[in-house]
Subunit: 401 residues, 2 copies
Amino acid sequence: MKTIYFDNNATTRVAPEVLDAMLPYFSELYGNPSSMHSFGGKVAYELEKAREKVAALLNASHDEIIFTSCGTESDNTAIRSALDVQPDKRHIITSSVEHPAVRSFCNQLELKGYRITEIPVDQNGLLDMDIYEKSLSPDTAIVSLMWANNETGVIFPVEKAAEMARSRGIIFHTDAVQAVGKIPIDMAKNYIDKLSVSGHKFHAPKGIGALYLRKGTKYSPYLIGGHQEKNRRSGTENTPYIIGMGKSAELASANMEKEGSVVRYLRDKLENEILKRIPNSRINGERELRLPNTANISFEFVEGESILLMLNEFGICASSGSACTSGSLQPSHVLRAMGIPFTMAHGSIRFSLSVYNTMEEVDFVIEKLPPIIEKLRSISPYWPPDSNPHDLTVRTKHENE
Amino acid sequence: MKTIYFDNNATTRVAPEVLDAMLPYFSELYGNPSSMHSFGGKVAYELEKAREKVAALLNASHDEIIFTSCGTESDNTAIRSALDVQPDKRHIITSSVEHPAVRSFCNQLELKGYRITEIPVDQNGLLDMDIYEKSLSPDTAIVSLMWANNETGVIFPVEKAAEMARSRGIIFHTDAVQAVGKIPIDMAKNYIDKLSVSGHKFHAPKGIGALYLRKGTKYSPYLIGGHQEKNRRSGTENTPYIIGMGKSAELASANMEKEGSVVRYLRDKLENEILKRIPNSRINGERELRLPNTANISFEFVEGESILLMLNEFGICASSGSACTSGSLQPSHVLRAMGIPFTMAHGSIRFSLSVYNTMEEVDFVIEKLPPIIEKLRSISPYWPPDSNPHDLTVRTKHENE
């Protein structure tokens, strides 16, 4: 059965060009870039060229790019480092819809005595900028706000937020894992101090990331050992993947605009047809301020996991929009933070597209999904809603997960 | 020019079988193992099979294996975790010849108020077990001693040392990065609580590691975010490399004994011929208790870096035996800790072999090296040594680097 892959916010296919670029570095050019022989030196040279390509995608300088093993490491490093270099500051500002690499990490820090402020979002997933401004304090060590949400695709005004932090001398970090490669990022035009990148979200492999660190930002490393990455991240460099992420950055720089409009067209078609064909469905997240590839759609009175299982029968890969992969019946913290009614949040599906998707695949989903929802509703005691004796549309309690 | 690669303790060639095993996971089976669709589920299944293979190499249980991004991450995690779960204990025992992933990390911890004891070694690189025993204290949070030294190949009695720690209720960690895949390791027969593995030291790629964590050992994660690795190491799994390290573990399990004796034969030939042909040369490190693949040889009154440059002209890759890659003129901390005379330590070369080396390559080095040393000595003001008015054979001062 053909795989119809609509789960690109979870991970992406490695681009064939990326794989080709990496291949020589496994069994031929396998030297250690730190070694004192030309066999290693050649690899070191190519590694720096890859760094320049990643920097170019962000319009940054090559020495502002630190390679890491993943977005989680970049996020953890960015926050931990800000605390280490400012031991007197004990306050962190973040949002209620961050990825667990920020949110769970901050929960841990809270247990160690740090004060965490989670800025709320409205029902469209937009950040409350008034509360944000009021939360900035002399005790704030770092602000960490995501550029684009992994579940809804909603884009935060991080450049504006960074400017507000900068004017108060506060370090600003953004988890841009879902934004990089999908929308333009220009670090020369903003005041963001640190930015997390994950290769596997834009067609490099799983297991490589980067941390953008603006020149002059105080920093301490998280992994400590050898002299790699100018003492900013120890550990032998993952040279094949660094070369690969360089290539995927180069591809994104060249094709983002064109590919973005193609992907947006497919996504919009998918959304509009689904809304048209399936009653009691809605898009979660502000429609205009969104990534071009993400559609988070709620189907009232059905279970997201049941929908996924039935889509899976047709080879269609999507996500329940929940960061929780343990089979918990709690809907995602993002949708709960947005105050999406329980009956809607439970039946939410994230379709996330890439340039490898086709109109044929979109048509296939549009054809297969309505009967799935209809079937699931036919066995639901709560459907049709006007037959329902209980008020299930109350907002869910915001639990700490 | 053909590359003659004798730098396998720095990094190794990815085995062709490993590359073949990984290849499908880049652009075909690229699903996220945490995803709720069979496309991701199939990857999760293969990932667990790889975990079992890595466990088998150590004779451990699959759930004692946590995948990390590198040996450095495993080392840092092992030590940090022991401190986190025992906040009242402030003492760490390690040795004077550890890899920077342990030694530099401990130096950082010292700055934060932890007390570090570095057990010394003798001139053969052997650990002083009396001092070790006396250093174990109720305040000791963790002992971290390497299984085999990266520069000399000398093997520490970590199983004995772990038993002594266990009897006092102290957590024991070993950096086994250079031992895994080269010598047998049987975790069912020792009391080691944590053990670091690095894939690229045994023909998996650079950028994948593992931390063995004995069942029941108290632990806290270093990278925090999603639920990967049973909440023990967050970050999307590097599935291609995990599959690859599974394969390289399987190859090592099957071939270690046979390959080890071949590699030892080549190494011994290399050493014996060099000692025979080059006056004022010596092997560093206890000859019997060593990895089969490592030869660390000093050539009196020459500079290691000059030797490396001239070997490089013939395509021969080796290492100066120094962890410092910055071009510093300080000889390695390992040789200094062993009290190797300055005039010897400066001219030290590490040849580290693998199963991909051939007798032809060994013969090539044996042919090319003597004239190199002779030429370098001919321009040295200190050669021949009996013409030297200064006593340069004093031991170097042990500096903190």
